[in-house]
């Protein structure tokens, strides 16, 4: 089965999930909605054949859920216990947003994203900068890995036990390479006509399909259920 979602649907998904996780879940019904919206992006990860990340996310989220419900009571105390409960609470709280963001960043091509933003009439400045941010996280990770390798080879990983040195040794080379990559990136982008005065066309044809509408309706319905049952039924 191949389902290709429109970037606009994905952005809507991010919006809804981040809004919902900020409202706390207090009843089993609200928890059910929250857990349900967490597993939707996981399902899409499986559809996109990203089995490893889907597996890891499911594992971590389920573990944190179990810990939260089994371990946590209002009287829990002691350092390890408060650490564990605080930790699992944070995971349960922020994991859904993380999963959705991961799914969107990993499965959206930059040109799709750009033309979707253009269709929504977002100013160019925000679009381009956001696209660069999205594209840049993997680059930073890669560069950081190389820097760590180079340091390990010379035995500098711990910076002589000095925290300021440890930060300096990692950050300065990272900044150097990022600035250079940035220059190359802008040269490449200008060659492709970014920043020109004419409206850019795109090879990607974006259309909201049945799947998109179904998802949008489902998320809207879930939000309404959540808000209604949290604020009006009590």
């Amino acid at each position: 089965m191949k389902v290709k979602l429109d970037p606009r649907t994905k952005l809507y998904m991010i919006l809804i999930v981040s809004a919902l996780i900020m409202l706390s879940a207090t009843t089993p019904f609200l928890w059910a909605i929250r857990i349900f919206i967490t597993f939707i992006p996981i399902a899409f990860l499986i559809v996109e054949k990203r089995y490893t990340s889907a597996f890891v996310f499911t594992g971590a989220y389920t573990l944190a859920l179990i810990m939260t419900f089994v371990l946590v009571t209002d009287e829990s105390s002691g350092f390890l216990k408060s650490f564990l409960t605080g930790y699992s609470g944070i995971v349960v709280q922020f994991m859904p947003a993380l999963i959705v963001a991961w799914y969107v960043v990993r499965t959206t091509k930059i040109d799709e994203f750009m033309s979707a933003m253009q269709k929504m009439h977002i100013p160019d400045g925000i679009t381009i900068s956001l696209a660069v941010v999205m594209r840049f996280f993997p680059t930073i990770k890669e560069e950081y890995g190389s820097i760590c390798d180079a340091m390990k080879m010379r035995g500098l990983s711990l910076g002589g036990g000095n925290v300021a040195k440890m930060v300096e040794y990692r950050m300065i080379p990272l900044l150097f390479s990022c600035v250079n990559i940035g220059d190359e990136l802008s040269a490449a982008a200008i060659t492709r006509g970014l920043g020109g005065t004419v409206k850019r066309s795109s090879i990607e044809k974006l259309r909201l399909t049945v799947h998109d509408w179904m998802l949008i309706m489902m998320f809207s319905a879930l939000t309404i259920c959540f808000v209604y049952s949290k604020y009006f039924k009590a």
Binding site: I14, S18, I21, M22, S24, A25, T26, T68, F69, V72, D74, E75, S76, S77, K81, S82, F83, T85, G86, Y87, S88, G89, I90, V92, Q93, F94, P96, A97, L98, A101, D124, G125, I126, I128, S129, L130, A131, V132, V133, F136, F137, I140, V167, E168, M171, I172, L174, L175, F176, C178, V179, I181, G182, L185, S186, A189, I190, L194, G195
Partner: protein, 196 residues
């Protein structure tokens, strides 16, 4: 390329530095898992560690709007990662004010840059505002959401109406200190290498 309008190159610069700044912020944010007092400590840690990339960013800023756009991006990212939207107006506002201050120095004056950076740092406190403004319901939310009572108690002991003012001032002061450190680092490494 001397026009006042921002070009694609500027947008790419903004994107890159936002990404770096966010990675720094995220790495520091991890420390908050250890103990809630460290959450309040962001006001000290972030302005100092983040100063190095920001000072490098300031050397590349020459037009109005770059710092403002950066603060908008940060607000968006904070929303997406689940930090809430209450802090967003403050984040964007501090970014725009910082932009005006830097502009009044022509983006070259070091004093204005320091001031601008420390105003920019106030956005770190913006993350605390949901905690303060909605203190009572937020506390209940935290306990309901599975944080232990102990965690939330210590969080509120560190962050409340009385301390938020101190935290803003701390952000500001450490923004200034961080700016000096950052400038020294930039001078030591980047100006020698001729990148700036």
């Amino acid at each position: 390329m001397n026009s006042k309008k921002l070009t694609a190159k500027d947008f790419i610069t903004i994107g890159i530095f936002t990404a770096i700044w966010f990675v720094v912020e995220f790495a520091c944010g991890m420390l908050g898992y250890i103990h809630p007092y460290i959450v309040a400590g962001y006001a000290v840690i972030l302005p100092i560690v983040g100063a190095v990339p920001m000072m490098l960013f300031y050397t590349k800023v020459e037009k109005f709007g770059m710092i403002s756009i950066m603060s908008v991006l940060i607000a968006i990212i904070m929303f997406v990662t689940g930090m809430g939207f209450l802090g967003a107006p403050i984040t964007i506002l501090s970014g725009i004010i910082a932009d005006f201050i830097a502009k009044s120095g022509g983006y070259k004056s070091f004093k204005k840059t320091v001031l601008s950076y420390s105003v920019f740092c106030i956005w770190v406190c913006a993350n605390f505002f949901p905690v303060v403004v909605t203190a009572d319901s937020y506390r209940q939310d935290l306990i309901d959401a599975g944080f232990s009572a102990e965690y939330s108690e210590s969080l509120f002991r560190a962050i409340n109406y009385k301390t938020i003012g101190i935290l803003v001032v701390l952000c500001f002061i450490f923004g200034i200190i961080g700016a000096y450190i950052g400038k020294a680092v930039v001078r030591k490494h980047f100006e020698k290498a001729g990148i700036v």
